[in-house]
């Protein structure tokens, strides 16, 4: 674990929603090109945590983030950081699939267009095709790229959103319970995809499902009441956790 490159590190991260504190001094170091799973009971702050990593919490008026967040050693929790460029680098997939009310093609082309990644139609076509291929959706939709993205099935919509995220070549992909709205078959497909993607991207996934964390991740962090209680190799956490609470949670005594 020591010789791996650290992609993201947070130090003394505190988050407040108005007067309510949601995270308490979270210190984490996330490794590059690995899948890190964050688990914990509802409301423990895991979603809040990953939303700090691409500053999505800025969208919420009353939310205040204190502490240091470094990506590749660069501080991002500063006023003068360009959040749009940050988000280009750190993509995000949400709990519920949220394709834009546009065609499949335009959904993928949206990112490259706003960031000016394609000089011409040809480039754009290529980006769309490669993104959809990477998201393992190409074969299913290649004949109907002009149909609305909202017409796809739930699992396809979520893969469309993943394809949309990788269309702008991020370095990190944050996934906020990406499978919670999907059936088991679609979930399996997404998990397969995550396994594939970790070759290229650093992935942080929040999940409610213990088994999913065990299946897809290399490292796991356990959150409880806004604090990180344990962070270690997934194997270690699931077989032999240090913390009693982690043990109870994993074995299903609470949560």
């Amino acid at each position: 674990m020591k010789n791996q490159k650290i992609k993201i590190s947070t130090k003394n991260l505190n988050v407040f929603y108005g007067a309510k504190q949601a995270l308490f001094d979270v210190n984490l170091e996330l490794e590059e090109k690995k899948v890190t799973a964050l688990i914990g009971p509802s409301g423990c702050g895991k979603s809040t945590y990953i939303r700090c990593l691409n500053r999505m919490n800025d969208v919420i008026d009353i939310c205040k983030v204190e502490g240091s967040i470094k990506i590749d050693g660069q501080e991002i929790n500063k006023k003068d950081v360009d959040v749009n460029l940050l988000r280009e680098k750190v993509g995000m997939v949400f709990q519920k699939p949220n394709p834009f009310p546009k065609s499949i093609y335009d959904n993928i082309a949206y990112g490259p267009r706003i960031h000016g990644l394609a000089d011409n139609k040809n480039d754009l076509d290529q980006i769309v095709e490669s993104s959809l291929k990477k998201a393992a959706l190409w074969d299913e939709v290649k004949d109907r790229l002009n149909q609305p993205g909202t017409g796809l099935s739930g699992g396809q919509q979520q893969r469309l959103c993943i394809a949309r995220t990788i269309s702008i070549n991020p370095e990190v992909i944050l996934m906020d319970e990406p499978c919670s709205a999907l059936d088991p078959i679609a979930t399996a497909k997404i998990e397969e995809l995550i396994d594939d993607l970790k070759k290229t991207y650093t992935i942080v996934i929040v999940t409610h499902s213990m088994s999913q964390a065990a299946r897809v991740s290399q490292n796991t962090g356990f959150f409880h009441l806004g604090k990180i209680l344990e962070f270690n190799l997934t194997e270690k956490i699931f077989k032999n956790p240090d913390n009693k609470l982690t043990q109870d949670y994993i074995t299903g005594r609470f949560g």
Partner: protein, 423 residues
């Protein structure tokens, strides 16, 4: 794409962002400045109408000239002629004026001045055969000069008063004989052709009666209709037709309701023309959907658990709704009604068509007397040429806006104070 290109692209994106934001802010600023200009314009034009300019005249209440004596009854006094004593007082302002100018002296004061003298005398009968200083309303033209609404330096032939009149005014002014006081007659008087004595009393009463008729009809009907549609109506074609009708009526131009009033209430049912009764009826029909819609929203906001709780205790549907749901929806219902009524108060067009534009010089005492309403008074006076009416129109608007602001803030207060937030 290299770094430099990327930077240029980014800069473009951000300037687009700034531009967009700028458009947003400037739109809001434009909209709000329109509001400010409008209000400032109305207030600067209208506030002066709330004061009245008077001249202190030394009146000699001479028994012979008045043709009355100390034992005269009030009725005799009312019939007596006060013109001569007024004339004497006015002529004494410029004792050496040529005969031609004497008429101009007479025009200095309002045509209502003799009535004012009578009123003064009725209150102070002991001034008989004595000289007393009485405040008499000045004519509209001098009034406007005094308030600075009319430029006095334009050539004589282009204004409605002469240099001579101006000279007298200045003389009296320097002697502190010109005074201003709050214009109560403006609030209580009925309309008149003379701006200085015209008031909004008649239209205030008219608006009041119209609104009462409108309230009495639209509030119970609207509430019952809303309760029916929200709580009892079965899901069928008839209900659907009613709902479509309610929503559409709320968007039908108000003038169409005027045509309805003219065609049905006046020409078919022979209801009396120009009266608050018909005005209120027409406005009630117009207000009805505007009450039903917020009422339904208020009822809808009451959570189903309340209904289920009551029904589970064995209360009938009607009891449940009347005892449990309606009281909870009352704040929303009331504020919706008040806002609906405030719209009715400002409505003009339909009332023009049912004849509420007549010149009303008596304050109406029942909803069956012909009358005008505040917004129609604004319309009527805005058509008049005299400078004094511009001021009066703006002042009427101020009164109207005052009532509207009061009603709307009361509605907001009700909503904020009593409406429960269901989580």
């Amino acid at each position: 794409m290299n770094n430099k290109e990327k930077e240029i692209f980014l800069r473009k994106r951000y300037s687009a962002e700034k531009r967009f934001r700028f458009f947003g802010i400037s739109s809001i600023i434009i909209a709000l400045s329109f509001l400010c200009i409008l209000l400032i314009n109305i207030f600067t034009n209208g506030l002066s109408a709330f004061s009245r300019t008077e001249i202190l005249l030394k009146i000699n209440f001479n028994e012979k000239k008045l043709g009355i004596n100390s034992s005269s009854t009030d009725k005799e006094i009312k019939q007596a002629n006060f013109d001569e004593v007024l004339q004497d007082a006015l002529l004494s302002l410029a004792p050496n004026a040529p005969e031609l100018k004497q008429a101009e002296l007479m025009d200095l004061v309002s045509i209502d001045a003799t009535t004012e003298l009578k009123k003064f005398y009725l209150k102070n009968k002991d001034v008989l055969n004595k000289t007393a200083e009485v405040a008499v309303t000045l004519s509209d033209d001098i009034d406007q000069v005094h308030k600075g609404n009319f430029p006095r330096d334009i050539p004589e032939d282009r204004r409605r008063f002469s240099d001579f009149q101006l000279k007298i005014y200045d003389e009296q002014s320097s002697k502190n004989k010109i005074i201003s006081e709050f214009n109560w007659p403006f609030i209580f008087n009925a309309d008149s052709r003379e701006p200085e004595i015209a008031g909004v009393g008649a239209s205030l009463m008219g608006s009041f009666f119209t609104l009462i008729v409108c309230l009495l009809l639209s509030f119970p009907l609207g509430i019952l209709a809303a309760i029916y549609l929200e709580e009892f109506a079965p899901k069928n074609k008839i209900t659907e037709i009613i709902e479509v009708n309610v929503n559409n009526l709320a968007a039908v131009p108000s003038i169409v309701f005027g045509l309805l009033g003219l065609g049905v209430f006046l020409n078919y049912f022979y209801l009396p023309r120009s009266t608050p009764l018909v005005g209120g009826l027409v406005l009630a029909l117009m207000t009805l959907p505007r009450i039903i819609i917020p009422c339904r929203a208020a009822l809808k906001a009451v959570p189903p658990s309340i209904r289920e709780g009551a029904l589970a205790l064995g209360a009938s549907k009607v009891q449940t709704v009347m005892h449990n749901v309606v009281p909870l929806a009352m704040p929303g219902t009331l504020s919706g009604t008040i806002i609906g009524l405030s719209q009715a108060l400002g409505e003009t067009a339909p009332l023009l068509l049912i004849g509420m534009v007549a010149f009303i010089n008596v304050v109406p005492s029942t909803p069956l007397d012909p009358s005008s309403v505040l917004p129609v008074q604004v319309y009527l006076w805005s058509e008049s040429a005299e400078r004094g009416f511009v001021e009066k129109t703006s002042a009427t608007i101020i009164i109207l806006i005052f009532f509207l602001a009061f009603m709307n803030s009361f509605a907001i207060y009700l909503r904020n104070k009593f409406e429960k937030k269901w989580s």
